[in-house]
Structure formats: structure tokens, C-alpha cells
Subunit: 338 residues, 2 copies
């Protein structure tokens, strides 16, 4: 298949392109590079042994999208583009709503106008809010998102649901990501956040490499085995392959389909720190900080539906995630800027 | 105060302009006239004895909004603009989401850029979904909206809440309208829907005037006194004066404030038909049709909060609503096109 990859220069996008090539698909990548670097695409090209067609454009640019969809006949689109920093979204809600929602509106218009009605959308476990049940299945009701970033994901799921209901020619897969960490085993591509990381693993690796003095652990009084928050960490290469598997749902004309992409295992913050220290033989100094507003105690999924319907299952464990995250960071201490 | 009135040529907007003038405010009206006529503004000008400054523009046009807000120093904005037909929104969800949400994003950007952070937003009782309690207070949780129109109102409430939380200089009043009917007592302005009316009263008046053969009553097996749906109908002039009262909340720097605008009385479809027949001495033939998807049995509010905090209370009863609706329709059988 020929796939339009919106936001393809980012962390998850770049890893997904590799999996798409491995499965024999071709891509055109679109990215405004606001939160990513085209260096990632140069390295992906090295890894797959082929240049990666790339258009620098903002998905909100209707004329650019019209041009891209008229110059290419796409079988499907994978839509990663969007702002994603939880804390920033609380400070700049209008920017987050406008960016993430309007990009999707413009994209849907362009796709419809050019007869491409197959879409894989990057959603998030955040749409479950404080989940009604653990492990979380796709039947679990959506909850109250506590930040604008999460709200954009939850609202866009509703938009896509209504679009598909009004026009059943659409096939739309909502992939609810749990917590992607790790990097490609080559160490050539990985997570390269701007500024102070919001997420655990880049904070750990930046501490290990000496960019940060210590890791802050936000709360150790949650109702979890060691008191720190428990999450469903998934290797980014597994998450990436989930998108290739999701194309199967598109091929069998799924209508609207929702899949959790996680491992089904919950690890606490301290579990991850310990695994990282053991696998990589480095010490991660940390200190306990107050809880962050909006954080929940425990979040992990039941990934059975993706296995049953797509044959997809995470292959990597927490050790590989820690190994590959560190392999990326130590070989690229300043990320793509290094 | 000087008020920017977005969507001011429409049904509620035009009536509100009269109340704003009566209270000594001035306005600039912005409307794209997609679902309204500037004839309404010519008639408002007659009624208030003053020309109404008007800019024909789409609120999604960022350059036009920037120009309007740079050429005028507004004390506040009332935002009526948006698509509002429930049935159409189910068929054209992308158009509804894109139009209503993007207009609000563009408006918020323009307001912020020009230092006008006082907004009154047209929300709807529909955000309560199937309400958790009757009568509905503002403390009642929001519910599941069953159509994209309602979703846009509910989502935009969340956007506005987050924008105000991030920047407390904003004062934002969410007015949750119940069911506006009736018209200005002069009979010069009123509701002028395109095509087949979605709502009860224009269907009644178009039947009375001979444009429709009979009224369709959707369901007579609801759990209500006569089996037909019960709603909180409010005279559009009362709803309009609610906006003038809401400016008091802006003046006292309310932050985010929410008010129900309704009478607090529930009338069934057949109650309204009977009142209309009695007051106007006309016969409304009707037939019972199946329930419409998404309709609920009963919806009326407790309007106490608007009285306590704004001193606002509906003045007109169901008889005046029926009288004025008919006065408008019989004098303007084809609406503004007549």
C-alpha cells in the first residue's frame, strides 16, 4: 500500500516508517518539523536503504494537503501529527485545541475530496481518564481527561466516530497508545524531546547521560505496590508494528475500529528505574517529588483484541525497552542535534 | 459597552441586538449570512431607530477577524455564530465540527491578540444529554450528546473552560439555552429557518400559515403526562435579555460562569399545540410519528442561578410565545424572503 504519514518525522512516526518499509509498503511523509527533525528521516532512509519521500508542510495548510493528495494516490493515511506535551497543553490550551483539531479537520477534508477514506489515528490511553477497570479493554468507557492534550485525543475520537457513521465508506482505526519508550535497536533513531522531558524514559536517559542531575519521581503514595505510578510501557518498535497490523483492519473494511496498543504489563516508576540500572549497569539518582495534578495511580491494558483481530502482540519486554532507550541516548547524547 | 456580536443576523442574535440597544450598549455585527439574512438587521435598525454596524464575514476568516478587532475597541463579544441544525449535523459531521470549532478558535485568537477577553458563548441544554436530574441546575453533570451539533457545544464549553483556566484574565459566560421560540412583539423579526424546520414552533407556524400540511409529533409514548416530549420553551426576547444580564457577570469579572436560560416550566408538544390554537384561534392538524433518534422525554431547567446572580428572569409565558410566533409568521409568511 501507499501510505500518507502525517507527522512522520516524529518519534513514533519515524519508527513506524521502518516497519511499513519492512512490510513492503511505500510512504510519503508530511511534517512541519515544529517538534521533530528531518535528520530522523535521513537516518530512516539509511536504515531501510531507500530515500523517504518527504513534504515539509503543516497539516493545517489546506492548499498543501490538497496538493499532496492530488499528486499521490494513497491507499491509507496514518495521522501522527499533533502537539503532545501534557504540561504545555495546560498552559496553552487554545494552541493545542486549534492545532490538533484543525489539522484533523483539514486532513479529513483533503482525504474525502481525493477519495482516500482509510485512516489510522493516533489516540491515547489518556482517553480512559481514571479508568473504570484494570486491565483496560476497549469496551471500558472513556473518562474525564484532565488536560487539553488528552481532550483533543478524546474529542477527535468523537469527530472520527461521527464522520464514519455519516459515511460508512470510511474505515478508521483508533489506536490507543499506552506508554511508548525505547528506540530502534540500531541506536540511530529514538525519542528526542524539546526541553525538559515530560515523560519518564527520556528523563531517565538524560539523567544517565548527565544532562539532568536527578530523576524526579512524582508521588510515592499511590495505591500501587511500591507507591509510584504504574504504566503499560511498550517498546516503540512494537507500537510501530501495530500500525502495520492495523492496515489489516483497513483492508477488511473495519468501519470504525478501536485497539489498545500496550503490552498488558504494568511497571511502576521504580520498576523501570531498577530495570534500567540493571540492564545498562548505570545508576539513576532520583528524588521523590509531590504528585502531579492529573496523574493517576495505575494504567495498563488488556491487549487481547489487537491480537485476536490483527494478530498483533508486543514482542519486547522491559529489558529491551531500557537497553534500546539507553543505546539511543548514549550514542546521541543531544538527540538529533548532537 | 461596545459589543462584537458574531452571528448577529440570526434568530437569537437579532433579538439580542434590540435588547443591547435598549440597555444603552453599542454593537458591531459580524455574520456570513449563510444561514441568515441582512434583512433582519435592516428591520432591527428600524426598531431601534439607529443603523446597525455590520461586517459580512465568516468568523473562520482570521484576517477579517483581526481587522474587525483592530478597528474597534470592544468591551466584550457575544458569539452566536455556528451551524445549528441537529439533523443536518448527523449527515455532515465534519462540516459542523470544522465550522463551529474553528470559528471559535479563530475568534479566541483574535480576541486575545487585541486584548478583548470577555466572551458570552451560546451553549445549549443539549450539553446535559439525557439529564441526570429534572429540573436541571448548572451543577448537573454534562451528558452524552447524541449528535455532532450538540457535541460542538459541549466540546467548545471544555475548550473555553481550559482557556479561562490557563489565563484568568478571561471572563467567559456559558449560556445554556433551553428552547427559544416566539418573536419580537412587533412582528418585524423572528425565526426564519431554511428548508423544513427542525424545531417545533416554526413547524407549527408554517402549518398554520399553510406551508406545511400537518405537524409531525415524534413519539407519544414517552414517560410524560401526555406521552409527548416536554421542553422548557422560552420567549426569544427573554433569552435575548439574558445576554444583557450576562454582561453583569463580565463586569464583576466572573472568570468562568455558567447559566441556564429557561423559564423553569415544562410544556409538552401537545401543550404547545393547544396553547397555540387557543391563543391564535387557529387549528393545527397533527399526526403522531415514530420517535426521533436522540430525543429525550423531558428537559426543563431550574433558572434560579441566573436570577440570583444576574437578576434575570423570563417575563413571558407560553401564551405570549405562541402569540408572537404567529404574529411574525402571518405577517411574514415566507420569512425575510417574503
Amino acid at each position: 500500500m501507499k501510505i500518507a504519514v502525517m507527522g512522520g518525522a516524529g518519534y513514533i512516526g519515524s519508527h513506524t516508517i521502518i516497519e511499513l518499509y519492512k512490510a513492503g509498503h511505500s510512504v510519503v511523509v508530511v511534517d512541519n518539523l515544529v517538534n521533530s527533525s528531518d535528520e530522523s528521516l535521513r537516518r530512516v532512509a539509511e536504515l531501510v536503504g531507500s530515500p523517504i519521500p518527504f513534504v515539509k508542510a503543516d497539516v493545517r495548510d489546506a492548499a498543501a494537503m490538497d496538493k499532496i493528495f492530488s499528486e499521490n494516490k494513497f491507499d491509507a493515511c496514518i495521522h501522527f501529527a499533533g502537539l503532545k506535551a501534557v504540561g504545555e497543553s495546560v498552559a496553552k490550551p487554545l494552541e493545542y485545541y486549534e492545532n490538533n483539531m484543525n489539522a484533523t479537520f483539514v486532513l479529513l477534508h483533503a482525504m474525502r475530496n481525493h477519495g482516500c477514506k482509510n485512516l489510522i489515528f493516533s489516540s491515547s490511553a489518556t482517553v480512559y481518564g481514571n479508568p473504570a477497570q484494570i486491565p483496560i479493554t476497549e469496551a471500558c468507557p472513556k473518562g474525564q481527561c484532565t488536560n487539553p492534550y488528552g481532550q483533543t485525543k478524546s474529542m477527535l475520537e468523537e469527530v472520527l466516530r461521527d464522520v464514519q457513521k455519516a459515511d460508512p465508506e470510511w474505515n478508521i482505526v483508533l489506536l490507543r497508545y499506552f506508554n511508548p519508550i525505547g528506540a530502534h535497536p540500531s541506536g540511530r533513531i529514538g525519542e528526542d524531546p524539546n526541553g525538559i522531558p515530560n515523560n519518564l524514559m527520556p528523563y531517565i536517559t538524560q539523567t544517565a547521560v548527565g544532562l539532568r542531575k536527578e530523576l524526579g519521581v512524582f508521588g510515592n503514595d499511590y495505591d500501587t505496590p511500591d507507591g509510584t505510578g504504574v504504566r503499560d510501557y511498550i517498546h516503540v518498535c512494537d507500537l510501530a508494528s501495530g500500525h502495520v497490523s492495523a492496515l489489516k483492519a483497513i483492508e477488511r473494511k473495519c468501519g470504525l475500529a478501536i485497539y489498545n496498543l500496550g503490552t498488558g504489563h504494568g511497571y511502576s516508576v521504580l520498576d523501570v528505574v531498577k530495570a534500567f540500572e540493571k540492564v545498562n549497569n548505570v545508576k539513576i539518582p532520583y528524588s521523590i517529588k509531590p504528585r502531579r495534578a492529573g496523574d493517576i495511580a495505575t494504567c495498563y491494558c488488556n491487549p487481547q483484541k489487537a491480537f485476536d483481530e490483527l494478530g498483533w502482540k508486543a514482542q519486547y519486554g522491559i529489558e529491551e525497552m531500557c537497553r534500546d532507550a539507553w543505546n539511543w541516548q548514549k550514542n546521541n547524547p543531544k538527540g538529533y542535534k548532537g
